[in-house]
C-alpha cells in the first residue's frame, strides 16, 4: 500500500477544506454559546421547584438525552420545514439542531454546577434581602460558571467531534471537505487519514488546554 500525499498542498486547503473547517468551527461556537444560554434557562426551570416549569424542562432534557444525535439531526431537518412551511438550508438546520441538542447537555452541567454551590451562599444572599433573581445573578451563577468552565470546554470538544455527524444531511463541514477532496483526486484513503490526523490534532490540543485551565481553576478554588 503506497500513500501518495503529493496532492496535499495549500491549494487543496483553500479550495476544499477551508469552507468546511470554517463551518465546523462556526457550528461549534454558535451551538456552544446558544446551548449554554438555553441550557441555563432549562437548568433554572428544573431548579425552580414550580411543577409547570420543572416538568416540561425535565421531559425536554431527558428526551434529548435518550435519542441518538443522528436521529435528532434527521428529526429537525424533517420538522422545521413542515412547521415554517418552507425549506431551510442544511447549514441553518444543523445550527438549530445543535443548539437544541446541546442545550440539554449543558443544562445538566449547569444544574450540577448550581447544586455544587454550598447552601450557605444562597442563605447569605437571602439574608442580605436579595430577590431570587438577584441571588442567582450576583451570587450563585458567577461562582457556578467559574467551576463549570472546564466541563463546558470538555463538552465543547465533544461537540466539535459531533459536528461531523451533519454528514447525514449533507452539510459541508470539515469531514465533507476531506471526502470531496478525496473523491476529486481519487485518493480517498489518504484524505480519510488526513481527516483523522486533523481532527486528532485539533481535539488533542484543545484537551491539553482544558487540562491546563482545569488545574488553574482548581487552585483558585
Amino acid at each position: 500500500m503506497d500513500l501518495d500525499l503529493s496532492f496535499y498542498n495549500w491549494a487543496l486547503f483553500t479550495s476544499y477544506l477551508q469552507k468546511g473547517l470554517i463551518f465546523s468551527f462556526q457550528l461549534t461556537v454558535i451551538a456552544t454559546v446558544g446551548g449554554i444560554i438555553v441550557g441555563t434557562v432549562l437548568a433554572l426551570m428544573r431548579l425552580s421547584g414550580k411543577p409547570w416549569l420543572v416538568i416540561p424542562a425535565t421531559i425536554y432534557v431527558n428526551t434529548m438525552r435518550s435519542i441518538p444525535l443522528l436521529m435528532v439531526i434527521l428529526w429537525f431537518f424533517l420538522l422545521i420545514p413542515l412547521m415554517i412551511g418552507k425549506p431551510i438550508g442544511v447549514n441553518l438546520s444543523a445550527i438549530i439542531t445543535f443548539i437544541a441538542f446541546e442545550a440539554a447537555f449543558f443544562s445538566e452541567i449547569v444544574r450540577a454546577g448550581i447544586q455544587s454551590i454550598p447552601r450557605g451562599q444562597v442563605y447569605a444572599g437571602q439574608a442580605l434581602g436579595m430577590s431570587y433573581a438577584q441571588n442567582m445573578r450576583l451570587v450563585v451563577l458567577p461562582q457556578a460558571f467559574r467551576n463549570m468552565i472546564p466541563v463546558f470546554m470538555t463538552q465543547t470538544i465533544i461537540l466539535f467531534q459531533d459536528t461531523s455527524l451533519v454528514y447525514a444531511i449533507g452539510a459541508y463541514d470539515l469531514l465533507k471537505g476531506f471526502e470531496i477532496a478525496g473523491k476529486n483526486f481519487g485518493r480517498p484513503i489518504e484524505t480519510y487519514l488526513l481527516a483523522a490526523v486533523t481532527y486528532f490534532l485539533i481535539c488533542f490540543t484543545l484537551s491539553r488546554i482544558v487540562r491546563r485551565i482545569q488545574q488553574k481553576v482548581a487552585i483558585i478554588r
Binding site: I67, L70, I189
Partner: protein, 261 residues
C-alpha cells in the same frame, strides 16, 4: 396533521398495502415481500447486533487498557504499558466516531487486505467498540484510583503478585464502583451505533432515512425508530441496574450515596 400508521403494513417493493403487516418475520408468510414493519424489526436487530458486538469489544479493551494505566511505575515494563494505555485513550478519544468508522471501513482494509473480507457491520463494531473502550478505560482508571491506597498495600502485604492483587482485590472493588458511569456509557454505545448508517449497515437510522424517502411518511417512521432507540437504551439501563444490585457487596459500597452539602 394526522398520523397514518398504515405505512408500516405496506409492501416495501410495490408500496401497496400488504395482506399481513408481519409477513416476512417469524416465517408467517415466507414467500411474501417484506413490509415496512418487517424491515423496521430487521433494522432493530442490526442495531442491537452492532451494539452488542461493540459492547463486548469495548468492555474487554476498556477494562484492560484502564487497568494498564493504573500500574505502579516501579519498572520499565509497567511504565511502558501505562504509556501504551495513555496513547490508546488519547488516540480513540480525540477522533470523531464517524471518522473512525471511515478509517476502519476505507483505510484499514487498504493496509491489511485480509480485512477486505470482513463484512461492514463487523468493521463498524470494531470502530464503535474501540471508540467506546477509550471512554470505559478512563472510567476504569478513575474507579481504581478512587480506591483507598490501603487496598493495594494490603494485597502486597499479603504477598500477592501484581496480577493477584488486581484479580482478587483491586478489580473486584474498582469495577463495582464504576457501574453507574458504565451504565450511561453503555446507553451511549447503543445510541452511537447509529453511525453504522454511514457504511450502509441496514440498521435503524439507515432504515429511517430510506423509508422516509420512499414513503414520505417521515414522522411515523422517525417516531417508530426513535421509540425503538429509547426502548433499547432503557433496557440497557435496567439490565445494568440489575447487575449492580446483584453484584453489590453488603457493607462495602454505599448504595448510591446522596451527595449533600
Amino acid at each position: 396533521m394526522t398520523l397514518d400508521w398504515s405505512v408500516f403494513c405496506k409492501d416495501t417493493l410495490t408500496g401497496e398495502a400488504a395482506p399481513r403487516c408481519f409477513s416476512f418475520l417469524f416465517g408467517m408468510d415466507p414467500n411474501a415481500d417484506p413490509t415496512y414493519l418487517d424491515w423496521l424489526f430487521t433494522a432493530w436487530a442490526w442495531t442491537l447486533s452492532v451494539a452488542g458486538l461493540s459492547l463486548v469489544l469495548a468492555l474487554l479493551m476498556g477494562v484492560t487498557i484502564g487497568t494498564l494505566r493504573t500500574l505502579q511505575p516501579t519498572n520499565f515494563l509497567n511504565k511502558g504499558l501505562a504509556f501504551l494505555g495513555t496513547v490508546w485513550v488519547e488516540l480513540f478519544r480525540n477522533i470523531p466516531l464517524l471518522v473512525q468508522v471511515f478509517l476502519w471501513y476505507h483505510v484499514m482494509p487498504a493496509f491489511f487486505p485480509v480485512m477486505k473480507l470482513f463484512p461492514s457491520y463487523l468493521l463498524v463494531s470494531i470502530a464503535l467498540g474501540l471508540f467506546t473502550s477509550a471512554r470505559i478505560a478512563e472510567q476504569v482508571r478513575a474507579g481504581i484510583q478512587s480506591l483507598p491506597s490501603g487496598q493495594r498495600n494490603a494485597a502486597i502485604a499479603l504477598g500477592m503478585t501484581t496480577t493477584q492483587s488486581y484479580r482478587y482485590v483491586i478489580l473486584p472493588m474498582g469495577l463495582r464502583i464504576i457501574i453507574p458511569p458504565l451504565t450511561s456509557e453503555c446507553m451511549n454505545l447503543v445510541k452511537n451505533s447509529s453511525v453504522a448508517f454511514a457504511v450502509s449497515v441496514p440498521e435503524l437510522t439507515l432504515f429511517a432515512m430510506q423509508a422516509q424517502e420512499e414513503t414520505s411518511r417521515g414522522i411515523e417512521i422517525y417516531l417508530a425508530v426513535t421509540g425503538l432507540y429509547v426502548i433499547s437504551a432503557f433496557s440497557v439501563n435496567r439490565i445494568m441496574a440489575w447487575i449492580e444490585k446483584k453484584s453489590r457487596v453488603p457493607g462495602f459500597i454505599a448504595p448510591s450515596a446522596s451527595g449533600s452539602h
